[in-house]
Amino acid sequence: MTASAPSPSPTPLSPAETQALDQALAHWQAEPGGLLPALHVLQDELGFIPPATLPALAQAFGLSRAEVHGVITYYHHFRQTPPAHHCLGLCQAEACQARGARALTQQAQDLLQCTLGHTRSDHHWQLEAVSCLGLCASGPALMLDGTLHAQVDAQRLQALLAAVPTPPMESSS
């Protein structure tokens, strides 16, 4: 595998990216251990961490680009590509398994025509495996576009997905 650090020639940042980067660095550059919170600001603002921000991050924190890349790729939460329009995170952990999470996952994959851990090619949906949302007494649990839902059965899942403005499948309707 080749190191995926960006080339030395700087890629220009979009105005939104520049603004998010300025915001992240203004808050966190001087803080001890500020890289992680800075990455959170970037992802919260932009939905992902654009690889083009890497050289500036590295310089601001006195790290090599490889180190920053290492941090971003180590954590499951951070992503370097834009997220899909809608995200469904399904809890896969034991407490939800005990309440039928495996069957629910299968149903979600069928309904959305998307494999767990992947983004659909039309970019409408991404289906993520989540390990524990802290709703373990009320499983199975999921997070749909940032909102938590508990005690989700087959019927409820269908209703939740049907209420999302984007059609679950591009071919449908």
């Binding site: 251990g33 990455l39 959170h40 941090v71 802290g134 007494a137 009320s138 649990a141």
Partner: protein, 520 residues
């Protein structure tokens, strides 16, 4: 009529079950009827099968209704809910509910009762009493109180908190830190989340007391990114506490200084391991450090650091306010005090049960939990998170304390109890334990990084070739032994717990294909 106080929890589990819509409906419906109410978004009582749980203050009592959905609100008001009227969802005085009556809530004393972000609520319910005690004492006296209470780390390792604090107190260092491990990644656990969302000043008080005890001036609360509500509440609570003079350069005019910062984790399970957490707080990859040096001597940024779980620090205000003996009075053997157990998985009555150590597993899952939600018999119970053992029903009478769980090849961990009914396939669960470890291993040590992947493959092979099961299970046990003995931290070192317990207690499942079990 006068203004009635109505409570609808703001806990994220209640919200995931529709509490926000219920709160909106209560406001709308009462306004339409010209009824005046004061709506409080309280914390959750932890009786999750009854959430959203609506409470109405009637005289000195709080009468409850649950589980309430938004569409029930009109009918509830028609039945005179604001005066405690009868309705099929009526539960009577919530404090008299047997699920609460039979608990020993020391740490969770305020849970479900107060508005989490109300400083006056907190103060009116014994808040800050521990801190005031601590401000009048020397660091040595505070440490001694915690030592005498017998409090052990609630994160899983069970190390005596007082000894950790004493080490930091005695360590030379110009800057010392208090770090809260709120990276509650274990499936089946939600007690940290409840404290962070439902009683944040309790944690802040515990942190300040720890800081006074060891001479720390800066604290960090490391909260997992899967808990956005917890992050938001803690940040607001810290701001309120700062404004009120509990945090900052001059705590309540004492001349002592302490402040804290909330830091969001980024979805790495292994960062719940203390040294990986410290690396992550330093802005690095969350890779486990070799010990020694202990974090107490060289922790965050190389400085002496108290790193404690949320529940450990949350137990401290009670100990200071009521005295070490009041806390140590509960529990048995070397497990003193109480543990907030979390009943989860396939249970009719899942929730938070704070009991003294020594309560049996049977009492928890049958008396409190009410048996399975599915109605099928219980088959296995995983105690202590994803690295905890699967216990069969023959071990239901195991008392819940650190030593007793250890004696049956398990761990109490963070107090999570996950119940499975007879549809569970234990080889599949053992396989999951290995794949979870492979996914979440930090990669620093070989047994964990490689062993977990090989373990998952081995179980697949074993299930595919049942005729060679005996041979493969010897290999599996050998592999588990390597992980147990040679891993750097508990991630690899305890992944064999669920695997070996499944193999020991449910050997028949390693000879049967998954299809032979009914779907849960």
């Amino acid at each position: 009529m006068s203004t009635v106080t109505v409570y609808v929890p703001r806990d994220s589990a209640a919200r995931a079950l529709g509490a926000d819509a219920v709160a909106t409906a209560v406001l709308q419906e009462t306004r339409q009827r010209g009824q005046h109410i004061h709506l409080v978004r309280n914390s959750s009582r932890g009786l999750f099968w009854l959430e959203p749980l609506v409470e109405v203050q009637v005289g000195a009592r709080r009468l409850a209704y649950g589980p309430v959905q938004a569409q029930d609100v009109a009918a509830l008001l028609d039945s005179g809910m604001l005066e405690g009227g009868q309705h099929p969802l009526a539960l009577g005085s919530i404090e008299d509910h047997p699920y609460l009556q039979q608990q020993e809530r020391l740490t969770f004393a305020r849970m479900g009762i107060t508005d989490p972000l109300s400083l006056s609520d907190y103060a009116a319910h014994e808040g800050w009493r521990g801190l005031h005690q601590a401000l009048d004492r020397t660091p040595q006296q505070i440490v001694q109180e915690v030592l005498d209470s017998g409090l052990r780390g609630r994160g899983g390792a069970g190390f005596p908190a007082g000894i950790k604090w004493k080490t930091v107190l005695d360590a030379p260092g110009s800057q010392k830190y208090i770090v809260v491990n709120a990276d509650e990644g274990d499936s089946g656990t939600f007690a940290d989340r409840m404290v962070l969302e439902g009683d944040p000043f309790l944690l802040i008080e515990g942190m300040i007391i720890a800081a006074l005890a060891v001479g720390a001036t800066q604290g960090y609360v490391y909260i997992r990114s899967e808990y956005p509500d917890a992050v938001a509440v803690m940040e607001q609570a810290a701001q309120l506490a700062r404004k009120a003079g509990y945090l900052g350069p001059d705590i309540l005019g004492s001349g002592r200084s302490f402040d804290l910062q909330v830091r969001k984790a980024a979805g790495a399970y292994v960062c719940g391991e203390e040294t990986a957490l410290l690396e992550s707080l330093e802005g690095k990859r969350g890779i486990v450090r070799a010990k020694p040096p202990l974090p107490a001597l060289r922790g965050l940024f190389g400085q002496p650091t108290v790193i404690n779980n949320v529940l450990t620090l949350a137990a401290v205000p009670f100990i200071l306010a009521r005295g070490a003996q009041a806390y140590a009075h509960f529990g048995q053997g070397r497990s003193r005090g109480t543990l907030p157990f979390q009943l989860a998985g396939n249970l009719r009555q899942g929730g938070l049960v704070e009991k003294a150590f020594g309560v049996t597993l049977r009492q928890l899952v049958q008396d409190f939990g009410g048996g399975t939600a599915s109605g099928r018999p219980i088959r296995a119970i995983q105690v202590g998170g994803p690295l905890g053992a699967y216990l069969p029903i023959s071990l239901l009478d195991t008392p819940m304390d650190y030593e007793a769980l250890s004696a049956v090849g398990g761990t109490l961990g963070h107090g999570g109890v996950v119940v499975f009914d007879e549809s569970v396939h234990m080889a599949q669960q053992a396989h999951y334990a290995f794949t979870f470890c492979a996914q979440e291993s930090c990669g620093k040590c070989t047994p964990c990084r490689i062993g977990s992947a090989r373990g998952a493959e081995l179980i697949e092979t074993l299930l595919a070739h049942p005729q060679q099961a005996a041979q493969h299970s010897v290999l599996l046990r050998d592999l588990c032994n390597t992980l147990l003995q040679a891993s750097l931290c508990a991630m690899g070192g305890m992944t064999p717990f669920p695997v070996l317990s499944a193999l020991n207690h449910f050997p028949q499942d390693f000879h049967l294909p998954a299809e032979s079990f009914p779907a849960p």
